[in-house]
Amino acid sequence: MNRPTELRNHQRELYYFRWRLGIAAAGAILLFTLLAGRFFFLQVVQHEYFHTLAENNRISIVPVVPNRGLILDRNGIVLAHNYSAYTLEITPSKIKDLEATINGLAALVDIQPRDRKRFKKLLEESRNFESLPIRARLNDVEVARFTANRFRFPGVDIKARLFRHYPKGELASHAIGHIGRINEADLDRLEASEDMANYRGSDHIGKLGIEQSYEKQLHGVTGFDQVETDAGGRAIRTLSRRAPVSGSDLTLTLDSRLQEVAEKAFGQYRGALVAIDPKSGEVLAFISRPGFDPNLFIDGIDPVNWDALNNSLDKPLNNRALRGQYPPGSTFKPFMALAGLELGKRTPSYTISDPGFYTLPGNAHHYRDWKKGGHGSVDLHKSIVISCDTYYYGLGVDLGIDNITNFIGQFGFGRKTGIDIEGETSGLIPSREWKMKRYKQKWYTGDTVSASIGQGYNLATPLQLAFATAVLANNGIVIRPHLVRSILDAVTNQVRTVPAAKPVATLAFKPENLELVRKAMIDVTQPGGTAARVGVGAPYLTAGKTGTAQVIAIKQTEKYVESRVSERNRDHALFIAYAPADDPKIAMAILVENGGHGGSTAGPIARTVLDYFLLGKEPPPPVPLVPPTEAPEEEHD
């Protein structure tokens, strides 16, 4: 009887099977409950957190960079503007293999080794979440080719960007300056000034000149788009927007035509020229030669151009007008003469007999006049007209260094003029305290002698000389020189004038003393004066003063002969002037490096500038200016 057993077995087996099935079912329910618990945790407990993450995924804040303000000259001629062009940009944080991506792009778009180098440099300097340009200014074909292949390059995009451009190139480049890509140092500064948020999305910042000092006004206020983005980071649609506020347009005090005339007048010479309207402090021309093309710096200068500019013997990047410090030489004399009159140490009729040198009591040392044999009988008027050194040696000793320091200091020598661009140097007028501090030596009367003719320790920038000349021209009314005339607010459309035009001080000089100096300076540009050429046939009167700044020291027993000195070691020529002398509209200082005597090289430049500014006379077609091989004696000062 097998059957009952089998049946029993069968029953037991079935029972056993169902028991195990039950265990499995219980296990399944348990695991599903676990899942349900996990869902509850994710979807209820952590919902807020994940909701935020999803929104962050979905929505990104995209800064909208404002248009940078324009820079115009005083007549509305554009000196810096923006134009729109396409750039190919890579967001490095979204790309795994940058090298491969760039190689892939190179097949579509022309990417030069220098583009790669520049990109690498940008990558090192950048915040990693921003997009960086690999190629700027794409042409239409390249744009089309990339767009068709865009899906292959997540994290790479074409952007329409505004590019800065300086249409006049080198013109006034040292005044206008340039913008450049924001680097680590700029970032630190922005963070310190809490302007960081306004620069989200900005790639450029003013680096030099007006672009730098008026960065705040030019930049504008960054707007923001809330956009929905996909996983590739591309914007799908804009959810909301806060419009950017464009930067303000700046109108400069510069007259770009005058600037151009003056720059051309320099020819091949290196040097600087600063021209100021003495009644308003407006800088009419601001020249440092040679200049440079600011357009090169906007997106990072390439190594070849950088080497050319940076290693040039001519130092084109050096802002000579603002930062170059030169001994003012004989241009110092009108100020010294005024000091002698104002402080009662000289009368107009006081006359010396000039033997061609000066000696201090009890000392055999000869302080030489530039003219061997001397000028004979010299009064104050003549001392300026023929630039007599001996007259001023004695005057300086009579005044004493303290008086010189204090009086000359009123004209802005030895401190910054406060012009509205950065990087100005302060020049130097020596004093007892200064020498003690600097050289741990007491002041000697001999120091005073050389200080009296603007040599020795004296240093001034062309800007300072122009400023001092403007103060003199303006009868002692001090107005801070400035480059920006007005600011056009982009929001209100209102023009704000720069408050710098107000006088900051008035130096109380006796009018008759000023008149004496003015007369003498006028005669400098008349026949017999050291800059007679400047005044020849001019329908206006120019007050001027020549000067020479020594580059190398000449031994006591030697005579300076220009033709014997190599070109780079020749004296610097200086010339200060204002005109028309009876109602000054322009005051200026000119420096011509290695130009020899002020009258011969700086003078013609002054004449060209004045003729253009006062008469509207276009300069004659440029005659190549070559450094003179031998200078006539009477033009030495």
């Binding site: 099977f17 195990r20 079912a25 329910i29 695991l31 899942l35 869902f39 979807q43 994940f50 999803a54």
Partner: protein, 367 residues
Amino acid sequence: MIKIDPRRIWLWLTAHIDSLLLSFMLMLMLIGLIVLYSATGQDLGKTTGQMLNMLVALVAMWAVANVSPQHIARAALPVYGLGLLLLIGVALFGDVSHGARRWLNIGIRIQPSEMMKLAVPLMLAWYLDRREKTLNLKDFGVAVLLLVAPVGLIVKQPDLGTALLISASGFYALFLAGLSWRIILGLVGVGAASAPILWSLMHDYQRQRILTLIDPSQDPLGAGYHIIQSSIALGSGGIFGKGWFNGTQTHLDFLPERTTDFIFAVYGEEFGLAGNLILLAVYILVIGRGLVIAAKAPTLFSRLLAGSITLTFFTYAFVNMGMVSGILPVVGVPLPLISYGGTSMVTLLVGFGMLMSIQTHRKLVQS
């Protein structure tokens, strides 16, 4: 003239269909189509394609359901043998794609591991049924070998997901056949002890997946990306979801593989916790019906087959949802009856066809 009697045709069509199981399955498939339509970005073409896949699979299911369990049993050995041969063929001459050797080109490209998902439980059920009377340790040993051989070949491909599912199906058959608890615990012990060895045998990407599960943020743009994004999708769905077509994770491209392995994240984002619980409930209905069929099945073969198929189906669902919600490592397992794809749909429905065959031929056996 042949008289067409609609009632007879209906009967002929439905005789071997388990209506309860079918209706639960159809609910899942409908949910699948709804989610897929959203996940594809309302791509009617792809959704229609999936409907066609379903239709083909349903026909296959109907055909299998009409085959009696005895006939099915007879197919076990040949199907298993053929499958094993093909797997060996894959190991020797298989096509490599995406770094895995899974396909065999015999005029058309086939994936023998897919076939083994059914062949293994079939073979084990058949073998254990044959040894029913004397079932002893040696028989279990042979059964384990029958399981380990294909699984080993599939692990080598490598295809961790399929290997896992086939192991599970084999294990369920052994477990339901009464494998002693001591051996089960022993196997678990051996498994735990061999974990370090397994670890050393794993491919780098497999290890990475496990490490990523522990801390997805370690590699947010690489292996961790899937888990992070799918967790965000589920979590941001909240209780009632963002609504059909409104899943931002899905529609803004953040979710990878959103029509296949990660389709559950789309569902969870758009229909929320409520939708998830409904889905779990429907799965429980399908699984419950399958277990009832197994419990009622007349022979050991049919019981083991039905039980194994049903529990494997559960495993599919659990592993997929566990992986999407971040409690299991990422293994390539689709969400059954919902993920896009024809092959797995056919395999699944052929399995359900076997269940229906077992259920509907029961009375015939008894009578």
